[in-house]
Amino acid sequence: MNRLSRFARRASLPGALLLVMFVLSACTGARLEATWGSLSLTGSPATIVFPFYDRIVMLDPVTGQPVQLVDNDGNTRLDDQGNPRIWEVPDAGERNAQVQFYTAPVQLDDETLLFASYAGRLFEVDTATGRINNGSGTPMGGQAVGDPLLADGTLYLGYNQGDLQALDTGNSTFPPIWTLDTDHGIYGQPILLDGTIYTASLDHNAYALDAVTGEIQWKADLNGAATSAPALSANSDALYVGSFANALFKLNLDGQIVSSVPASNWVWGTPAVSGDMVYFGDVSGNLYAARDTGDALELVWGPVPVATNAIVATPLVTENALIVGSRDKNVYWVDPASGAVLQTRETKGEVLGNMLLLEPSDSLPVGEPTVVVSTMAHEELVIAFALDNGERLWAYSR
């Protein structure tokens, strides 16, 4: 007994240290990192596709419920327990692989959606069955953060590690056609205009590339990292792009900085363009409105401290209000004329991903104009609000 107690005493301190070690490793070891999903619409009638964390779900825009799978005769498919099968890809790809999603899918063909993951793999998902066609995914050149762009059979995709690649979707292995190597990550979706790809990088530069060859046509120094995708002006003759230099820049299509609007902090998100007006937020929660006069960008109002934390998602522009999501877990309805907050709706999670504005139509049978936002909280991953009065219509939770 004495020997046992002596051993216990001797082992107490090393044991405590081992405990600390395991607690620390549990707190900081390998686990899924938090991601923000990207909302998009697909099909007709349209459904909401939402890849988030390690799974993908398709939601009914009217009810917010996961879409039920049907067979060729339109009958709901049932699982072994007789419950309806829902459109969900749980734990995408191989088990134990840390598959994560930031990006919206692209429609590869009528039956296939292509998802680019943060785990560096492309997943082909059959839209009819919600099943992955290519098993554990096809390796790609890096971790996808920004939405990919599909045009003429080529997938343009930026990576967290710093490359922009053009991938050949005509080949099942999606081989790269060309690669642009930048020193840091590309978080924004590239845009394509008249055979030129425009993108911005965390390496402080905006780029114009030949879409076919990847040859650099110009690059412009933004004096700071750029996480946003460039936004095209209403006349398609200029680009707006924000940077960590606390500014929004206007570039002409020759790569010259024409004008800029100062901000109070980093401009992370892609600006919203409506006619000659440009709306954007910064990471302190300020909102700005600028007018493009042709020769210059002129600040109309701002900084207006709409939120108390970062505004990352592109604001939605509607006739009567700007809809602004924030990391402070609120969605704001803002007066486009003054920046004044008209109403606020609280959410349970940070709103960082892009938002959707659903207008009723034949292919989108929602009862009224609806704002759909995603959050980082599992209790409330996707929420729909009525545009007019901000009434909460539904919420999807995991």
Binding site: M21, T28, D183, N223, T227
Partner: protein, 292 residues
């Protein structure tokens, strides 16, 4: 936590801006942290020195209460209290590093911003205007991402560098522990007392634990460990309190782990000659005990 973390992140980014290298920034940052924690380290070393000086007294106690381990322990504790000595002083430098390590670990992760959310977080942590122009920091070094744990299975240079960093962390942690910790003292019956045994087991567990950290945490942390350990050894040398003999295994020198000569800063020489009587002829290793 932000009160500690934000200045750490700012300082690290500032060093990066000045030095142009994240590895150099971590090295200099570690040295700065070492300097900041110097008063604590110096206090601990003084405690260790006092512990060494107490050896003759402890020996007397062991002889006086021979066979009564309970009484010996009680009297030892009384003696420690009387002289203001912490018997676990050898472990304290490493333990003190824990909160600093956690803040530093977090600051390296936030400064390097390996994922989008960490990059977004960084916007609120830089306390000096203008540092944002250095963001994102270059987190690549010898083909490795400093923000990520070493990927040993990757093979090639990445695996070699990863294994080397882990090995260097284990070795330098062990070396620092040995060099800065007073050697254990055998009791009257030739056995080590509980404190000594505990300290010795710590000397084995600590390096393995830090090796595990180096394997699991970001490479930047391994660099911090290695530099911190080397700085600790250098600090002990400069203070005249390094005992390199303690790092030489007894089987190599054919000596027991009986305390060697310890030179104090004041130039005193404390020999444990009095601790080796004819009765205590065996060390815990079972080898002959010789005094020097």
């Amino acid at each position: 936590m932000d009160i500690i973390l934000n200045p750490f992140v700012t300082l690290l980014t500032l060093l990066y801006a000045v030095l142009g290298s994240m590895v150099l920034a971590i090295v200099v940052f570690t040295i700065v942290v070492r300097l900041l924690t110097y008063p604590l380290t110096a206090k601990q070393m003084k405690s260790s020195q006092a512990m060494t000086k107490l050896q003759p007294e402890l020996k007397k106690l062991q002889e006086k209460y021979k066979g009564d381990r309970e009484k010996i322990s009680q009297e030892q504790m009384r003696l420690y209290r009387e002289y203001g000595v912490n018997p676990l002083g050898g472990c304290l430098p490493l333990l003190i590093q824990f909160p600093v390590f956690i803040a530093l670990y977090q600051s390296i992760l936030h400064a390097l911003a390996a994922n989008p959310l960490q990059l977004l977080d960084l916007s609120g942590r830089l306390l000096i205007p203008g540092l944002a122009s250095y963001v994102p920091l270059n987190n690549m070094w010898l083909g490795l991402n400093l923000a990520l744990p070493p990927n040993i299975s990757a093979g090639g240079l990445a695996a070699v560098v990863g294994v080397t960093l882990i090995a260097a962390t284990v070795i330098t942690t062990w070396l620092q522990f040995k060099v800065t910790t007073p050697p254990p003292v055998p009791s009257a019956d030739g056995k080590k007392d509980q404190t000594a045994a505990m300290t010795q087991s710590m000397g084995t567990i600590m390096p393995l634990m830090y090796g595990f950290f180096a394997l699991s945490f970001s490479i930047g942390i391994s660099i911090y460990f290695i530099v911190s350990n080397l700085a600790g050894i250098l600090q002990a040398v400069l203070m005249g309190r390094a005992n390199f003999r303690n790092a030489i295994p007894s089987w190599l020198t054919n000596r027991s782990s009986t305390p060697a000569i310890v030179e104090t800063r004041a130039g005193d020489v404390v020999t444990p000659a009095a601790t080796t009587s004819g009765k205590s002829g065996k060390s815990s290793g079972g080898k002959s005990s010789k005094s020097r």
